[in-house]
């Protein structure tokens, strides 16, 4: 990587780490570890934001980095860990697809993402070209995590990791969104986790479990039987 400044190399390293973490999430079945991986992902995101803030000297990016640190590294993992303890869900059930199969699909997704990001990367400054492809890949891999999991808790981690991917995309493509929007998005994410917390207690109260196959009765044919 001769000729590339050191801080850009670091940024590329962050992108690579994010991709690696997404694959780790895809294969992880212990929910506690899944939340820890989410926190690590948040930390990498925080470092990437700091790097970009330092490089472009935009003051509002430091604020955005602080927001990432507070929300994604500290607050959300803390809330999720508390939920896990109180709901006593530690393991996910066997995923709908076995791990190696999921990994293979994941590799294909990465190739597809870089293809999809091509027209955007072509316009971006050279510094962050790879990063946009990575961001798309992280979003789609998180989506895959959500699809293949059964427990509501792991789906939520997938959802939050998708949001991290989007944030990284915004950061690398446009050096962050306007501050109003970033605050709004952060607020929405926080409220989403709180709402889900309430929601999980309701689900558990009703079904004594957080396994989502309880939530499969609402089908066209089933509705009539259920109500009678």
């Amino acid at each position: 990587m001769a000729g590339v400044p050191f801080d850009l190399q670091l940024l590329n390293l962050c992108a690579a780490l994010l991709l690696l973490l997404s694959f780790a999430m895809l294969s992880q079945r212990r929910i506690v570890n899944l939340v820890n991986l989410l926190a690590v992902q948040g930390t990498v995101l925080f470092i990437a934001t700091l790097l970009i803030a330092w490089r472009t000297r935009q003051a509002h990016l430091y604020l955005s980095a602080a927001l990432t640190l507070g929300l994604k590294v500290v607050l959300l993992p803390y809330l999720l860990h508390r939920l896990i303890r109180r709901l006593e869900v530690y393991w996910d059930a066997e995923p709908l697809l076995n791990i190696s199969g999921t990994m293979l699909i994941g590799v294909l997704i990465v190739v597809f993402s870089f293809g999809l990001a091509q027209p955007i990367s072509a316009l971006a400054s050279t510094a962050t070209r790879n990063a946009i492809g990575v961001a798309v890949a992280v979003v789609l891999l998180s989506f895959l995590t959500m699809i293949t999991r059964r427990k509501a808790m792991s789906q939520v981690v997938g959802f939050l990791s998708m949001e991290n991917g989007l944030f990284f995309g915004a950061m690398s493509a446009t050096y962050g969104m306007p501050m109003v929007v970033e605050f709004g998005v952060a607020l929405d994410v926080l409220v989403a986790v709180l709402v889900l917390g309430i929601f999980f207690f309701q689900i558990r109260e009703q079904f004594d479990s957080l396994d989502l196959h309880h939530l499969e009765s609402l089908r066209e044919d089933a509705t009539s039987r259920r109500r009678e």
């Binding site: 999809l116 027209p119 955007i120 989506f143 969104m177 109003v180 709004g184 009765s217 109500r227």
Partner: protein, 485 residues
């Protein structure tokens, strides 16, 4: 001033009702806040008619012909739904389906939902639009699960996950839009997400990035519009939540989500110089119409039936916006108005009908007309109106859409006509025995509020017979703004 009140009133309502929402006078308080919102919407409209387009708060908010009529409509339906929900929720209390804490949550979240809808409509910032749409999902998720039954939790979870993932796609689309705009409007980021600024420079935005952005935005907001094949959350959320929520979901949320799609379409079509966005809208619209029409036959739950009918009508409107041009846009806007009014009126009537029969299953609802002629006629009239029987307003807009389709997209006309026919047979066949015949209904502990039902139907009838010139001028101005075709 009116503008500030428009946002502040529901927001204050949410805060006050979070504390007092379970008191005896809470429903009246809910109505009062909605009334203030409605009056400020009217005042704002009057001002816009006089002064033209307005922007507020450093251009973060704006009013133009397209959103001003939706603001008034949203505030009106918000008010009438609040009036309807007063006796409805009291009956639910007596039947033991909700308790005081849930009622407090319900009232507070209702006002919060109204806030998010209004912010989404009047914001000029595409990022804030996204934030408000997401907040709308979050504020209604706990309302869908209000009854805490298994099916309602399932419906809520589906609603959250599908709309959450969908709206995440829309965020990515917004980021791409910002990315493209930044190259033109400069990196300072203050104006690069403002719709008015984007609209001014839409011709010079990078088309490749924008076409990608449109796909993400359409899928994202389209999920909330309930466009097939992303509509799965919609019938469940409508059927399992309390009826006032079904009414505002169908009457307001779908409209506002579609509004977001159309705003994006205007920008992106201006940049692409191709008909890709139009074709995508027409495709998704037509698919929704056809799919919903056939799914109507399989429904046994009255609220699910009309939820599918909402998907069908959203499909028709999306198709009309896809065709574009002055007439189709005019018809689409008119259809948005009359569908919203009619569908919420139907949900009001259906909600009381289900309460009287003690079941949402259509087989158990019989002979409404003997015990309560007003509810029976309300349901009958509403169904006829939504099916496009003249002289109701839906007939006028559907007629306009069909004749435009014959001229611009002749291949689509038979498909549309067939779907409308199928839907007519499905709904009419179900509603008739519910209204006439032997009765199974019982008396309710609180007299139902039927004023909203007949107010809405009256408005729809009036719009079918005569559109006042200033309203028509308004629609025309909005149709010009949307352009295309």
């Amino acid at each position: 001033m009116e503008f500030l009140l428009l946002i502040a009133s529901p927001l204050a309502g949410a805060a006050v009702l979070a504390v007092l929402g379970a008191k005896r006078f809470a429903p009246q308080l809910n109505i009062a806040f909605s009334l203030v919102t409605f009056l400020s919407a009217c005042a704002l409209t009057a001002r816009v008619i006089g002064a033209g387009n307005l922007t507020f708060a450093r251009e973060q908010f704006f009013i133009d012909p397209f959103n001003v009529f939706l603001v008034t409509l949203t505030a009106l339906v918000g008010l009438t739904t609040a009036i309807f929900s007063r006796p409805y929720m009291r009956v639910e209390m007596e039947h033991g389906r909700v308790r005081a804490p849930q009622l407090r949550l319900y009232h507070s979240m209702y006002q919060l939902f109204m806030t998010t809808m209004l912010v989404a409509l009047i914001t000029n910032n595409m990022g804030l639009l996204w934030v408000a749409m997401e907040a709308a999902t979050l504020s209604t998720v706990l309302l869908v699960t209000l009854y805490r039954t298994g099916p309602s939790l399932e419906a809520g979870w589906k609603y959250f996950v599908l709309c959450g993932v969908g709206i995440a796609q829309a965020l990515f689309g917004t980021i791409l839009l910002y990315f493209a705009a930044e190259h033109v409007l400069g990196a300072e980021g203050v104006s690069a997400l403002l719709w008015t600024h984007l609209n001014a420079v839409k011709g010079s935005l990078e088309p490749k990035v924008l076409s990608l952005a449109f796909v993400f935005l359409l899928v994202g907001y389209g999920t909330k519009v309930g466009l097939a094949p992303l509509h799965n959350w919609l019938p469940d959320a409508h059927a399992e939540g309390p009826t006032p929520i079904s009414a505002v979901l169908s009457g307001l949320l779908l409209n506002v989500a579609l509004y977001a799609v159309v705003r994006c379409k205007v920008l992106i079509e201006g940049s692409l110089h191709s008909s890709l966005p139009s074709q995508m809208l027409m495709g998704f619209g037509l698919l929704s119409v056809v799919l919903a029409a056939f799914f109507l036959w399989r429904q046994r739950d009255i609220k699910r039936l009309f939820a599918y009918s909402s998907i069908e009508h959203m499909g028709i409107i999306t198709f009309a916006f896809g065709m574009g041009g002055a007439v189709a846009n005019f018809a689409a806007l008119l259809h948005m108005t009359v569908h919203s009014l009619t569908k919420s009126a139907i949900f009001f009537a259906a909600g009381h009908a289900a309460q009287k029969s003690g079941s949402q299953l259509m087989d158990n609802i019989r002979g409404l007309i003997t015990l309560s002629p007003t509810i029976g006629w309300g349901l009958m009239m509403g169904s006829l109106a939504i099916l496009g029987v003249p002289p109701f307003g839906v007939f006028a807009s559907e007629f306009l859409i069909l004749t435009t389709a014959m001229r611009q997209q002749p291949w689509a006309t038979p498909v549309l006509l067939m779907a409308l026919g199928v839907a007519f047979a499905a709904i009419f066949g179900r509603v008739q025995p519910m209204v006439f015949g032997e009765t199974t209904a019982r008396r309710l502990p609180h007299p139902p509020a039927l004023l909203p039902v007949f107010l809405h139907l009256g408005l729809v009838l009036a719009l079918g017979l005569y559109i006042p010139p200033y309203l028509a001028e308004w629609y025309r101005a909005a149709a010009r703004l949307i352009g295309g075709g």
